[in-house]
Amino acid sequence: MNDHEKIRELLTLLAAGVLEPHEEKQVMDHMRSCESCSAELEDWKLLAGGLRRLPTPQPRALVVERARAQAQIRLNEEFEHRWNRGVIVGLIVFAWVLTLLSWPLVRLLTGGLLGMLVPGFSHDWIVFGAFTTSVWLAGGAAAVLLSMQHRRERRLA
């Protein structure tokens, strides 16, 4: 009775409610003539019903509230970081744009001047390089000083 064996396997799945409609029909058809399988199915259905009715364990309110607070803080942090990162990247691009834009300005101002002092001076790139480097050095020094002061203030606060 190979058929019977196959049906017996499907009985548990039927009680679990995961059979395809055609499989279900197969089982129902078989059960019309088979008493033992019908009885089996009832047993499985009982088990399934018992599982469905298991009491739901509840988490403690303390745990839930702490999870809520932590997760909310974390969510805020994630979105803040993303925003700040975007802003900083945009500003860095902007800073480079300003740097590049300052080169023609420098050329305009100093090219003429130096041309007057040193006849034949045509190495603009040296001037650009010197100007940009001094600007970034000054900026870097300001950054270091400010962040040191900032850190001192934060620690005292």
């Binding site: 679990a16 409610g17 009491p55 909310q72 993303r82």
Partner: protein, 231 residues
């Protein structure tokens, strides 16, 4: 919503309700289809807002899933204090990873998958043997596999087990992967496809596990309480 979206949504819903009715006999406790779909729309809106960083949406989702998520974790790790810890970790993960969440995916399945991964990592570190093998039988169970709860009084665990009765006790003796598939199917009432998504396993594997789990459960009950009613 544009007219097209309204039409698409209605067709979706009609199709959903049609297949829903086919499964109706096997899904108990979902009740009124209209309420179900209302809940789905609210869920989608909460998830969308969460993806935008809305704190209230996070709070609403946490409240919505708090009992179910805790229950799932408790079934996996069996220790209330560990389940509580994992509960907090899961929601932190949700906050961390929500930006990478594809809104077309099923949020519930994703949530349970996150929880599952955390639970498995945890078990691998603390009790690696409990992952593959069933727990020791009831007699040897008492001291060996049970770590003492840190914050919960022991009496609560005993009372909870009393309420769950024999069925609950027998469930705890099954291997983790079988407990898991039983809780997802009967307590969470997830569809087969959703369970397959959470477990990241093919449908056939889920079916086999489900069948074996039920058979094992019955076997356990009949050995523990021969001839008696396990209700």
């Amino acid at each position: 919503m544009s007219l097209f979206e309204v039409l698409a949504r209605s067709m979706d819903m009609i199709g959903g309700i049609a297949s829903f009715r086919l499964n109706m006999h096997s899904i108990s406790g979902l009740g009124d289809p209209a309420a179900y779909w209302e809940g789905q729309v609210a869920l989608e809106s909460d998830v969308a807002q969460l993806r935008g960083g809305d704190l209230d949406a996070l709070s609403a989702l946490l409240t919505r899933y708090q009992n179910r998520l805790y229950r799932y974790l408790l079934r996996l790790v069996r220790e209330p204090s560990e389940a509580e810890d994992l509960f907090q970790q899961t929601w932190l993960r949700v906050a961390e990873k929500i930006r990478q969440f594809d809104p077309r995916r099923n949020f519930e399945a994703w949530l349970f998958t996150l929880a599952r991964n955390l639970a498995i990592d945890h078990l691998r570190r603390i009790r690696p043997e409990s992952l593959d093998q069933p727990a020791a039988d009831a007699a040897g169970e008492s001291a060996a596999a049970r770590l003492p709860s840190r914050e919960r009084p022991a009496i609560e665990g005993i009372l909870a087990r009393e309420r769950a009765g024999r069925l609950g006790a027998a469930l705890e003796l099954l291997p983790m992967v079988q407990r898991e598939v039983l809780t997802l199917r009967f307590e969470e009432e997830m569809k087969l496809e959703e369970i397959a998504e959470v477990l990241d396993a093919p449908l056939s594997t889920v079916k086999t596990r489900l069948r074996r789990a039920l058979e094992r459960l019955r076997e356990t009950l009949e050995t523990q309480y021969p001839g008696e009613n396990w209700q």
